[in-house]
């Protein structure tokens, strides 16, 4: 009895080891479980169903109908305006992949696509719609990268951030 002394002094007696066990297990688990990724969403509407955004240009101007086809060789940019067709090209400007037959999503030359779209945007300031026409075997990742390329230009910054190019995307059935 005398040897035991005061048992109320908790500062000396508090056993922290079980709590440490708990914390040591929980922290690696939570670190692995909480992936520090933030999600975003890209909006798109079907052409026939849903409301496509109204075009802003006047009725007497010919609509641009800008469309970008994604094929297994690269991008083909087409539009209603004849100025988009370079000499000798039937359909429109072609931007080939950096490697033949586009083996990986990185081979698609989106920088060049953005550059071409900036030129088009310079002539058609009010146009905001673009139609994407991917081929059947094009991977989804390429489609997302193309949507990034058509939405904004990271190299030009105006008042509200990156310069907006053609933010309203419609995905069409496919190019065969």
């Amino acid at each position: 009895m005398a040897g035991k002394g005061k048992r109320g002094t908790q500062a000396d007696e508090l056993d922290l080891v079980p709590i440490m066990n708990l914390v040591t297990i929980l922290i690696p688990f939570l670190l692995m479980a909480s992936s520090f990724v933030s999600l975003a969403a890209i909006d798109s509407t079907l052409p026939a169903i849903g409301q496509p955004p109204p075009p802003e240009e006047q009725d007497d101007e010919e609509p641009l109908n800008l469309s970008v086809a994604i094929t297994d060789e690269g991008f083909t940019v087409m539009g209603g305006d004849a100025t988009l067709k370079p000499e000798g090209e039937e359909k429109g400007a072609t931007i080939p992949c950096t490697k033949p037959n586009c083996p990986t999503p990185e081979a698609y030359d989106i920088k060049e696509l953005t550059r071409l779209l900036v030129q088009i945007k310079d002539s058609w300031e009010d146009e905001q719609n673009v139609i994407l026409v991917p081929e059947s075997q094009v991977p989804y990742e390429v489609l997302v990268r193309t949507m990034d390329a058509t939405r904004e230009d990271p190299d030009t910054v105006d008042g509200a951030g990156n310069r907006e190019l053609f933010p309203f995307v419609v995905i069409a059935g496919g190019a065969q």
């Binding site: 508090l14 798109s44 026939a48 075997q137």
Partner: protein, 177 residues
């Protein structure tokens, strides 16, 4: 002198653990807090790798369709499995919706599930009476980045037929040139 020293050392050992406990507890509380704030959970795995994008808009809650390399899951409920076929154009294996699951471009099981959800949502919207709950046809699409566009097209077509015309593609922030 000797007795004082020997009585001090166990107390020093106790204090060291206490300060580590402080640090660990703060980290734990922080992780617990950040673990809870995802309303949209993306179960990333080998079969579902979401592409990166420079998009900024945050996703709102809507019907959630997850298309991974194995199967299609709508709001947590499995709908159908995907299969691997040899592509006619490239001759290489690629993912596709099994032929017996679709009629043309329409994926039957997915169409039924989505149509039912659309009807339920419209019903709820009508009963709620406020514009906030109106059925807007929004659908969230989480698709593996390697999925060929043919599958994406069929999913989108089916969703469109089931009156979900407002697609929101879920991407991970951080991509872009």
């Amino acid at each position: 002198m000797g007795k004082k020293k020997s009585r001090r050392s166990p107390q020093d050992a106790g204090l060291t653990i206490t300060s580590m406990m402080d640090m660990m507890t703060i980290i734990l509380v922080f992780l617990l807090k950040s673990y809870q704030t995802d309303d949209l959970s993306v179960a990333a795995s080998d079969d579902l790798q979401i592409p990166l994008s420079s998009a900024e808009k945050t996703p709102k809650l809507a019907v959630n369709v997850v298309v991974s390399r194995k199967d299609v899951v709508v709001d947590g409920a499995w709908v159908l499995d995907l299969t691997e076929i040899t592509s006619e154009e490239t001759g290489e294996p690629e993912l596709a919706v099994p032929l017996d699951e679709k009629r043309g471009q329409l994926v039957s099981k997915l169409y039924e599930v989505l149509l039912e959800k659309a009807e339920t949502a419209k019903d709820l919207g009508a009963r709620a009476g406020s514009d906030n709950y109106d059925f807007k046809g929004e659908i969230l699409l989480q698709i593996d980045k390697r999925m060929p566009f043919s599958v994406v097209r069929e999913i989108m077509f089916t969703a469109g037929q089931a009156q979900f015309g407002n697609f929101r593609f879920v991407v991970i922030k951080g991509g872009g040139t």
